[in-house]
């Protein structure tokens, strides 16, 4: 049988990730990579996974979510708490990281399920605002959450402060409310990040190209028709939402394990929006696009550092121009016109230069 178009397309996507990985590894072993780029490898992986997972909700399921960073946050905190509390039990770091990733994904998935049940009944912008609200609530709750561990295990406390944990001798505060977690073991590695991207791709691409994925896309295209052919709306909405949340959770763990500190405020509205920008820029439903957009847009602000204080202004302008260039026919025509006008002028200017 001839390979299906989607199958071929998917293979390109895997190849893109693997080839990029090999190139980067070669650069690293040759010492040809800047600290700046090297430092961004893990966060890029995390953002790629976040973008892919959000694309599942926004592009494939067709529901706008403005609270994706909330799931990232749950994954980050749950995963790091797990990694820290398992320090003695699992001494092998790789194994501990894997366990942390799974726990991060699990908690975020559970949150996705609990949130999904009420939320997914809403439509369009109403759903979007509720996801935003949940993102903010998660942030608020982690800000008043205190977790510590001692010989007796984990202790939890809300609202007061770390003293209320009543930790025993040699106990350690892990989550200290708004101070977040400090002293995180830096377990995340670029290789692990790439492996996680590949797993994410495997899950998402295979899900899309299967019976369940078709059902999810059917909901997006026409809910009423989907019901009329016997597709259970809530089940498939939840399936997409929970998968998306769980993957975001794993990405959150990966992300957090790359920094020595995390705080809840990091995972607010702005981060949710950032991930959404990746998805929209890469194209709704276009997984490879998400990967590329997440990578480029994570690197872009760093590339603009040479412009000093104009950096973020330029970032904004570049973002607007990219959106116009990829989405507007009118703008494309302008560009074409501009090019036509500029080319001859360029020649003229050259002549002038020659004269003076």
């Amino acid at each position: 049988m001839i390979m299906k178009k989607t199958t071929r397309n998917n293979l390109y996507t895997y190849a893109l990730v693997i080839v990029s990985f090999i190139i980067v590894q070669l650069l690293i072993s040759g010492g040809n990579i800047t600290s700046s780029l090297k430092g961004q490898l893990v966060p890029i992986c995390a953002y790629v996974i976040l973008a892919i997972s959000l694309n599942l909700t926004v592009g494939i399921l067709g529901e706008l979510s403005l609270g994706h960073a909330g799931f990232m946050s749950i994954g980050a905190f749950a995963g790091v708490v797990a990694a820290i509390s398992l320090e003695q039990i699992i001494p092998i770091t790789l194994l501990r990281l894997i366990v942390a990733l799974i726990i991060g994904a699990f908690f975020a998935g559970v949150a996705g399920f609990l949130i999904g049940i009420p939320v997914l009944r809403l439509k369009g912008d109403y759903l979007a605002i509720v996801t935003l609200a949940f993102g903010e609530i998660i942030k608020n709750i982690i800000n008043i959450l205190y977790v510590g561990k001692d010989k007796e295990g984990l202790h939890f406390s809300f609202l007061t402060d770390s003293n209320a944990l009543n930790l025993g001798e040699g106990g350690r505060v892990i989550i200290d409310g708004p101070l977040g977690i400090t002293g995180i073991p830096k377990l995340a590695t670029f290789t692990m990040g790439v492996v996680l991207i590949l797993i994410t791709l495997f899950i998402v691409l295979n899900l899309i190209d299967s019976r369940s994925g078709r059902a999810i896309m059917a909901l997006r295209d026409n809910r009423i028709a989907a019901e009329s052919v016997g597709i259970h709306i809530t089940k498939y909405k939840l399936m997409a939402f929970v998968t998306s949340a769980a993957l975001a959770g794993a990405a959150g763990t990966l992300f957090a394990m790359n920094y020595s500190t995390i705080i809840a405020s990091k995972f607010g509205f702005n981060t949710s929006i950032l991930i959404l920008v990746f998805v929209v820029l890469g194209g709704l439903g276009n997984i490879r696009g998400s990967i590329i957009a997440a990578t480029l847009l994570t690197i872009l602000p760093e590339m603009l550092r040479q412009f000093n204080s104009y950096r973020m202004l330029l970032y904004a302008i570049v973002l607007i121009l990219i959106m116009l260039a990829t989405n507007s026919d009118e703008f494309k025509n302008h560009l074409r016109g501009l090019k036509e006008r500029l080319l001859p002028r360029k020649g003229k200017r050259g002549a002038e230069d020659g004269q003076s």
């Binding site: 178009k5 495997f202 899950i203 295979n206 899900l207 190209d209 299967s210 019976r211 369940s212 994925g213 078709r214 059902a215 896309m217 059917a218 997006r220 295209d221 026409n222 009423i224 028709a225 989907a226 019901e227 009329s228 052919v229 016997g230 597709i231 259970h232 709306i233 399936m239």
Partner: protein
């Protein structure tokens, strides 16, 4: 494929008037609507609607614009919950059932305003019709276990078979939204058929088609009934089609049935002429 097609075409070349074949068909009606009604903020869009449809029958529902025909379909498929009356499907009351359950229980439909999954391929649209007949779960799909390959292979074959009814196999890979209007209408029918219904509801299947396309559609509706041995109920304003293939017709006006009967009875019913057909002769 081609061979099968030609034999089938032969089979339907003469529309049979008595499709009820021997023994295996249960004589219980597929559908029975009793005193069905719905109220939209004071407007009784459908009122005291009674109707039975027998197995392998082609029934027509006609009536002026706004008479409540589409609403009847919406009641039968539980897009709206009836405010009065009962619907018996295969002898079972469908009270409290949802649209999804109704479909699983055996009613499939098309829509007056086409509702395809327009960003998906033609093949995927049909496979979605088969959704509840493909038996593998989410993890089988993600992990690409044998059940996935088997299920997808069967689904693909079955989808192609269904598409062949309208000679649409070559369009399988196209985006449904990019098809010409007529093809979209046909695809909707195929998708509905893929759910393996006992009763197929068609809402204005010939709308937007020109006369020659309509003629072809008529042949195909009969062919579908004969091959799948199902009942069909259709709404249509094209009298050539209604009078040509329906075995019995109900006429709705202001939410109430004003006449029932065979095509010739309806055609000559003065009330129907007055409210619906107009003076012009029908072909």
């Amino acid at each position: 494929m081609d061979k099968a097609n030609s034999t089938e075409t032969k089979m339907i070349s003469v529309p049979s008037t008595n499709p009820v074949s021997e023994g295996d068909v249960d004589m219980l009606p597929v559908l029975e609507a009793r005193n069905l009604g719905i109220n939209f903020g004071g407007l009784m869009a459908v009122n005291g609607f009674n109707m039975t449809i027998n197995r392998t029958e082609i029934a027509g529902l006609i009536g002026p614009n706004g008479a409540g025909k589409t609403t009847v379909f919406n009641l039968l498929t539980k897009v709206y919950q009836p405010t009065h009356g009962n619907i018996l499907l295969d002898g079972h009351d469908t009270q409290n059932m949802t649209t999804v359950q109704i479909n699983k229980a055996g009613i499939a439909r098309t829509f007056q305003n086409i509702r395809l999954f327009s960003n998906l391929t033609v093949e995927d649209n049909v496979k979605l019709g088969m959704h509840n007949h493909i038996n593998y779960g989410m993890w089988n799909g993600i992990l690409r276990l044998p059940a996935y390959w088997k299920g997808e292979k069967q689904a693909h074959e079955k989808a192609m078979e269904l598409l062949s009814i309208f000679d649409m196999q070559s369009l399988a890979g196209k985006r449904a939204g990019s098809l010409p209007y007529g093809a979209q209408r046909r695809l909707e029918i195929v998708r509905a058929l893929a759910t393996k219904p006992m009763l197929l509801l068609l809402d204005e299947p010939a709308a937007g088609m020109n006369p020659s396309e309509t003629a072809e559609l008529m042949d195909n509706i009969v062919k579908i009934r004969d091959t799948f041995q199902i009942a069909i109920m259709l709404i249509e304003h094209d009298m050539n089609l209604v009078m040509g293939i329906c075995e019995k017709i109900s006429v709705l006006n202001f939410g109430k049935i004003i006449a029932k009967g065979t095509p010739s009875e309806i055609r000559n019913n003065p009330q129907v002429i007055e409210a619906y057909l107009g003076k012009k002769r029908e072909g």
